[in-house]
Symmetry: C2
Subunit: 156 residues, 2 copies
């Protein structure tokens, strides 16, 4: 784990706005943004599993795919992915596959998190690439969105 | 790990044909097929990372997405994914996310395999779903495709 950098809070604001979009559409509110090496946003994404009926439509995976399409290359070297919830194994694997430099997340996911909770895939030196991890950026806001979403569903 | 079932060899034949398509297009030759609970093929996929410029375009991930689109649901309960190469963390995570019942693979991947080599994500009881794993089906043919592909690239 590495410490937050200037700009992480602001980038998480973009990811939070994406998460709100997911929740408004009935999907679990998780959002992500991909920043290029210059810190400029290349792509955003939010969880669309229910809306798209696609089990792989997690926020980070969609944002990574969109960033690759925008740059014309599957290699996102130098990029940072900022996401409201700790990536699952699929998404952590996608960050490694895309050669992302760094991932920043908000809320930890004790049930499925693969960036420190259940696994720490991004910093396993046996893979051909490692991704630097920063945790806990705007954690309370990221977690509150999820808690509110599930509380509302239970109340139905 | 569980033993192969009748039909696994034949299904791997479909996955091998997909792998050949990937190699012919210049991508690492890996192919996959998704079978429904009745054993009928729902979707196929082959590695398209280079062709599509998409870091997530692995054979299994594409086949899972196509199967979900074909069935109209992100839940692929009862499905079996048959793939020529041991899934990486991203793809193993996608199998869990899609609630696939079983994965059958051919060649092991000692560098990135997450179904027995470096990790065994599919059978981790801490996740909300486990995927049964069968390894080594038509392993020699699956591995030979990969060895031939990389030998030809070195020879250029």
């Amino acid at each position: 784990m590495t410490a937050p950098l200037p700009g992480d809070d602001e980038a998480m604001g973009l990811a939070l706005a994406e998460a709100v979009r997911a929740g408004a559409a009935g999907d679990v509110p998780v959002g992500a943004v991909v920043l290029g090496a210059d810190g400029v946003a290349l792509a955003t994404g939010h969880n669309r599993r229910e809306v798209d009926g696609d089990p792989t439509a997690h926020a980070e995976l969609l944002a990574v795919r969109e960033a690759a399409a925008a740059t014309g290359s599957w290699r996102l070297g130098g990029a940072t992915v900022v996401v409201t919830l700790e990536p699952c194994p699929m998404c952590a694997g996608a960050l490694i596959a895309a050669r992302v430099a760094r991932v920043v997340f908000g809320a930890a996911d004790p049930k499925a998190g693969a960036c420190g909770s259940l696994y720490n895939l991004c910093v396993d030196p046996r893979f051909n690439h490692e991704v630097e991890v920063t945790a806990g950026v705007r954690e309370a806001e990221c977690a509150a969105l999820l808690v509110g979403f599930f509380a509302a569903r239970r109340g139905r």
